[in-house]
C-alpha cells in the first residue's frame, strides 16, 4: 500500500511537469543523454581499466613469485649440494678416527666457500655427540642435541633431507651471540675407527639469507606482501611475524599450505584478497603472495580521479556544444514565436522569416495568414459600418413617411378649412423641419438644431391638435452647441402627444415639456408630459418591443431612438422611461457631452468615438460588460 502511494507520488511529479521552453527541453534532453552516455562510458572505462590493472598486478605478482621461487630453489639446491659435498666428499671418504684432520679440512673448505649463506656445518653420531664442526666454536655444555627437532627428523627418515623452520641455533657458545638458522639435516653413515655407524649431518643455513630474499620482494610497502611457510603452515618468514605471534595480526597460512600452485580468492577477517601460491621444490615450502583487494583499489586511485576528471571535462564541453546546438535549433523558432506573441499583443511586427527551410516556410505561412486575417478584419469592419449606416438610414427612412403623412394631413385640413395663415405657418414649420431633417446628409447635428427641429415639429402638432396642449422648452444654453443624433426628440414628442396629451381637452391643461442639461459629462434631454401616463409594465415594454405600442403613433416608437443613441454612443447610453398612470410620463435621453465640431461630427458618423476607439472595439467592450 505504501509502495503504491509512493509510486503515485512519483507519477504525480512526472505528470505535474509543466511544458518548458523549446531550448531548455532540447538542452535538457541532450544533457541527459550526454550525462548518461558519459556515465556509462566512465563506468565501463573504469571497470575495464581496473580489471586489466588487476590482471596485470596478479600477472606481475606471479612473475615476481616465480622468480623469487626460482632464486629460493637455487639457494636451497645449493644448500643441498653443500650437504651432499660434505657427506659424499668428506664423510664417506674418511674415517673419523684416522683422518680426523682431513674431515675437518674438508668441512672447512666447504664452509669457507659458502660461509655467506651458512652459519655452521656439524656432524653428530647416534648419541648426539659432536663428531666434527665448522667453524670450530665451543660447544655448549649440554645442548641436548638428540631432543632437537632437526636431529629427530633426520633420525626418523634417514633417506631424506629435512629443512626445519627458523629457530635459534642452540649448539655453540659464541659469547652473547645467538643465530637464527634454518637447519638442513640428514641421516648419514659415517665410519669411526673402521666401524660404520649412523649419524646426522647438520648444515645450519643463515636465516638472514632467506629473510633477505623475502625482504627484497616485500620492499614495496603497498599493502601487497609475500610470506613463506612450510608444508604444515608454520610460518618461516612473514613481514608481520611478531605481530602474528603477539596476536595483533593473523595469517591463514594453514589454508595456503594445503593449496596447490595457483591464484585463489579468499575472504579473511572481513577482507577480500587474492592469494597466489607457489610451491618451493623439494622442501614443500609455500611462497605465498597476498594481494588485498584494497590494494587494487588503492592502485586505481589515480585512474579513478582521472576518469572523474575526464567525465567532468567532457560534461563541460558537451554542455557548451549542447548549448550551441540547442540555440541554433531553437533560435529561429523562438524569434518566430516572439513575433507571433507581439502580434497577439496587438503590435504589428513583421513576422520573422529565417532559419532552416521548414521554419522559413512556417514564418511565411504565418505572415500570409496574418495578412489575410487583417484583410478580412478590415473587410468585416467596413461591412459592419455599412450595415450600421444602412440600419440608420432605414430608421431615418422609417420616420420621414409617417411624419410627412401627418403634417400633410394637417395642412390639407387647414386648407380645407381656409385657414391659410395657419397653413402657411404650418408649411414654413414643415420646411424648417425638413431642412433640419436633411441637414446636408449629416446624421449628427447640434442640440440647438435638434431643439429647433422639435419646436417646429411641436408647432405643427399643436396646430393639428388645436392647441389642446402646450409645449415648453427649457434647455440650458450650454448644451446647445453639443452633438446629438438628429431626430431623436421628434419620435418621443410624437409619443407624448399620441399617448399623453393628445387625447386631453384644452381645459385639462396638457403640457409637453422638453428640458436639457449637462451632468457629469453627459447630456440629459427629457421630454415630460402630464398625460395619461402608463403602468410600470407598459413602460418597460416601450424600449424592448418596438411593435407593441403602435396603436396610434407613427409606429417608429422609442425603440428606434434608443437603438440609434446606442449605435452612435454605445450601449451604456439611451433612453429611460419614468411613468405613473394619470400623472404623466418622462422620457430621458442620455448621451455623452461632445462639443459639436466638424471633426467630432465626422468621427461620430464614421462610427468612432472621440477616445479613438473604433466602433468595433466599442461593441467588443460592451459585450464583455
Amino acid at each position: 500500500m505504501k509502495k503504491l502511494n509512493l509510486t503515485k507520488k512519483y507519477l504525480k511529479y512526472i505528470t505535474d511537469i509543466k511544458p518548458r521552453g523549446m531550448q531548455s527541453t532540447i538542452m535538457m534532453v541532450f544533457s541527459s543523454i550526454s550525462v548518461a552516455v558519459l556515465l556509462i562510458l566512465g563506468i565501463m572505462m573504469y571497470l575495464r581499466v581496473s580489471a586489466s590493472s588487476r590482471e596485470e598486478m596478479i600477472r606481475s605478482t606471479e612473475k615476481l613469485m616465480e622468480q623469487a621461487g626460482e632464486n629460493m630453489e637455487d639457494y636451497l639446491v645449493s644448500m643441498r649440494q653443500i650437504s651432499d659435498a660434505v657427506y659424499y666428499n668428506v664423510i664417506k671418504e674418511n674415517d673419523f678416527s684416522d683422518k680426523d684432520n682431513d674431515i675437518q679440512q674438508g668441512m672447512k673448505r666447504v664452509y669457507e666457500a659458502n660461509k655467506s649463506n651458512i652459519r655452521s656445518i656439524a656432524i653428530y653420531n647416534d648419541y648426539g655427540s659432536l663428531m666434527g664442526a665448522e667453524p670450530v666454536i665451543l660447544q655448549k655444555e649440554d645442548p641436548n642435541v638428540t631432543r632437537q627437532a632437526w636431529y629427530e627428523q633426520a633420525r626418523a627418515e634417514m633417506e631424506n633431507m629435512h629443512f626445519s623452520t627458523p629457530h635459534i641455533q642452540n649448539l655453540f657458545d659464541d659469547a652473547f651471540r645467538y643465530y637464527w638458522v634454518i637447519s638442513l639435516s640428514r641421516g648419514v653413515e659415517l665410519t669411526d675407527g673402521g666401524v660404520p655407524q649412523t649419524g646426522v649431518l647438520l648444515v645450519d643455513m643463515d636465516y638472514s639469507s632467506i629473510s633477505r630474499m623475502m625482504n627484497q620482494i616485500n620492499a614495496k610497502n603497498s599493502g601487497q606482501y609475500y610470506y613463506l611457510c612450510d608444508g604444515n603452515g608454520e610460518i618461516i618468514y612473514h613481514t608481520r611475524q611478531m605481530q602474528i605471534n603477539n596476536g595483533i595480526y593473523s595469517e591463514d597460512s594453514k589454508k595456503a599450505a594445503v593449496c596447490k600452485d595457483g591464484v585463489y580468492d579468499e575472504f579473511f577477517q572481513g577482507e577480500r584478497r587474492k592469494i597466489i601460491v607457489n610451491t618451493i621444490s623439494y622442501t614443500g615450502w609455500k611462497l605465498v603472495g597476498v594481494i588485498p583487494y584494497s590494494v587494487f583499489t588503492h592502485d586505481m586511485f589515480d585512474i579513478r580521479y582521472f576518469i572523474v576528471l575526464l567525465i567532468l571535462l567532457m560534461a563541460m564541453m558537451l554542455g557548451v556544444v549542447n548549448r550551441v546546438v540547442s540555440v541554433r535549433i531553437s533560435s529561429p523558432i523562438l524569434k518566430l514565436n516572439n513575433s507571433v506573441l507581439e502580434y497577439e499583443a496587438g503590435k504589428k511586427p513583421d513576422i520573422y522569416i529565417g532559419g532552416s527551410m521548414e521554419i522559413r516556410h512556417l514564418g511565411d505561412s504565418i505572415q500570409r495568414s496574418y495578412e489575410r486575417i487583417d484583410m478580412l478584419m478590415h473587410k468585416i469592419v467596413l461591412e459592419q459600418t455599412e450595415r450600421r449606416k444602412s440600419e440608420l438610414d432605414a430608421l431615418q427612412s422609417q420616420i420621414n413617411p409617417h411624419f410627412l403623412y401627418n403634417a400633410l394631413d394637417s395642412i390639407t385640413w387647414m386648407i380645407e378649412g381656409e385657414k391659410n395663415d395657419e397653413a402657411v405657418f404650418m408649411i414654413s414649420q414643415l420646411a424648417k423641419l425638413f431642412r433640419i431633417s436633411l441637414s446636408k446628409g449629416r446624421t449628427v447635428i447640434t442640440i440647438g438644431e435638434e431643439i429647433q427641429h422639435a419646436q417646429s415639429y411641436m408647432n405643427i402638432q399643436k396646430i393639428r391638435y388645436k392647441n389642446r396642449f402646450s409645449f415648453v422648452v427649457d434647455v440650458d444654453q450650454a448644451v446647445y452647441s453639443c452633438c446629438t443624433v438628429k431626430l431623436i426628440l421628434q419620435p418621443i414628442l410624437e409619443n407624448a402627444i399620441n399617448y399623453g396629451v393628445g387625447s386631453m381637452d384644452e381645459d385639462e391643461g396638457g403640457e409637453v415639456k422638453v428640458t436639457g442639461k449637462e451632468q457629469d459629462g453627459e447630456i440629459i434631454l427629457s421630454v415630460a408630459d402630464n398625460g395619461l401616463g402608463m403602468s410600470e409594465e407598459e413602460a418597460s415594454y416601450l424600449l424592448t418591443d418596438g411593435n407593441r405600442i403602435h396603436k396610434q403613433g407613427s409606429g417608429v416608437g422609442l425603440v428606434n431612438v434608443n437603438n440609434r443613441i446606442q449605435l452612435f454612443f454605445g450601449k451604456e447610453y439611451g433612453l429611460q422611461v419614468d411613468s405613473e398612470p394619470d400623472e404623466g410620463t418622462v422620457i430621458s435621453i442620455r448621451f455623452p457631452s461632445i462639443v459639436y465640431t466638424e471633426e467630432n461630427r465626422k468621427r461620430l458618423e464614421e462610427g468612432r468615438l472621440l477616445g479613438g476607439d473604433t466602433p468595433v472595439d466599442k461593441e467588443g467592450r460592451d459585450e464583455k460588460q
Partner: protein
C-alpha cells in the same frame, strides 16, 4: 531565455568547481606520504636491550605508515638533555615524541611543559617528581608485578624455605620509578619470608659493576632489577666475583639471555618490549588527526624464563625480537 542562460552558466560553473576539486584531490592524494613523524628518545638507545622495543616500533611504523626516528642518546640522560632533545625533534618536524623519562624530579614538570607543544607518550615507567602529570599516557610493563614475579620464582626454587637467606639488590638507576616499583614488588613478596637484604646498589651509572659487586659482601642471591644490572651481575658471576650468589633478574637483552643460558643467572623475567614499542607507536599513531582521541595508558605483559625452557617455541619468539 535568460533563465536558460543563467542555468547554463551555473551548470558550467559547478562543473568547473568540481574539476578543480577533483584535480586538487588527485594531486593532494599523490603528495600524501604517511601520517606523521614520531621521534623516540630513550637512554642508551643503541644498547641491545632496546632491540625488541625498536623492532616493535619499526613494525608499528610499517603498519601505521608512520615515519619513525629513534634519537641516539647517551648513557647519562638528564631532564635538561631530554628537553633539548625533544625541542630539537620538534624543530625537525616531529609530530609526536615517545620518551623514556630521564631520572630526576624535574622530568615530570618538563614533560608536562613539552606536552603543551606536542603529543608525548612515555615508555617503561611514568615520569617521577611532584610535578608528574598523571595524565601523560604511559606504555609500560607492570613493574610492581615484575618484581613480584621475580621474588615468587626465587621462592619456588627454595620451596619457600628462604628463612635466614641474604640478598643484595642491584639496579642501574635506583631512583627511577621502574626500579622503585620493581623493588617494592620484590620486597612485598619476600618481606615475611625471613630474607634479609644485606646490601643494595642503586646507582651503577658510570661505574664498573664488576668491581662494585666484588666489593660487596657475600649473599645468597642477587636481585637485579634491570637489564644492565642483570648483565653486570652475570658478568660478575662469570668472573666469580659474586661469591657464589645466585642471580635473579629482570632483563630484555640477548646478553641477559646468555647469562641465563650459561647459568650465570638463575631466572630471568622478560618484559615484552616488542609489545611496548608496538603499542606506544600504535597509540601515538591512532591519535594523529583526531583531536579528541588521546593515547591511553597500556600495560604490557612479561615472561618468566628458565634455562630449561629458554629455547621453547614461545620463548624463541621473544628471542627473535631481541635479536633483530
Amino acid at each position: 531565455m535568460k533563465s536558460n542562460k543563467n542555468m547554463f552558466i551555473l551548470t558550467e560553473a559547478v562543473l568547473a568547481v568540481l574539476v578543480i576539486i577533483t584535480a586538487a584531490a588527485m594531486f593532494l592524494g599523490r603528495s600524501t606520504h604517511g601520517r606523521g613523524r614520531v621521534a623516540v628518545i630513550v637512554r642508551n638507545s643503541d644498547e641491545s636491550r632496546w632491540a625488541a622495543f625498536k623492532y616493535g616500533l619499526r613494525m608499528a611504523a610499517q603498519d601505521k605508515e608512520i615515519e619513525l626516528f629513534v634519537v641516539s642518546m647517551g648513557e647519562d640522560l638528564t631532564a635538561e638533555e631530554e628537553e633539548k632533545a625533544i625541542e630539537r625533534e620538534i624543530a625537525n618536524g616531529a609530530d609526536a615524541v615517545i620518551v623514556q623519562p630521564a631520572p630526576g624530579k624535574d622530568t615530570g614538570k618538563m614533560l608536562k611543559k613539552m606536552r603543551k607543544k606536542i603529543p608525548v607518550l612515555l615508555v617503561e615507567y611514568p615520569a617521577s617528581g611532584e610535578e608528574t602529570a598523571e595524565d601523560i599516557p604511559t606504555v609500560q610493563p607492570d613493574n610492581y608485578a615484575l618484581g613480584q614475579a621475580l621474588a615468587k620464582e626465587l621462592l619456588k626454587d627454595y620451596n619457600e624455605k628462604v628463612e635466614g637467606k641474604t640478598m643484595g639488590i642491584i639496579s642501574e638507576y635506583g631512583a627511577s620509578a621502574a626500579s622503585l616499583e620493581r623493588k617494592r614488588g620484590v620486597t612485598s613478596v619476600l618481606k615475611d619470608m625471613g630474607v634479609k637484604a644485606v646490601w643494595e646498589v642503586s646507582d651503577l651509572s658510570g661505574e664498573d659493576g664488576n668491581t662494585v659487586l666484588e666489593r660487596k659482601s657475600k649473599v645468597d642471591f642477587v636481585i637485579a632489577l634491570d637489564d644492565y644490572s642483570l648483565v653486570m651481575s652475570g658478568k660478575a658471576a662469570a668472573a666469580k666475583n659474586l661469591h657464589g650468589a645466585l642471580v635473579y633478574g629482570i632483563g630484555n637483552s640477548m646478553e641477559a639471555i646468555y647469562c641465563l643460558d650459561t647459568d650465570y643467572a638463575r631466572c630471568l623475567v622478560v618484559p615484552d618490549d616488542f609489545d611496548m614499542g608496538y603499542q606506544s607507536l600504535a597509540e601515538t599513531a591512532e591519535s594523529f588527526g583526531f583531536i579528541f582521541k588521546k593515547p591511553k595508558n597500556r600495560i604490557v605483559s612479561f615472561t618468566v624464563m628458565r634455562k630449561q625452557d629458554l629455547f621453547s617455541k614461545e620463548n624463541q619468539e621473544i628471542l627473535f625480537t631481541m635479536s633483530q
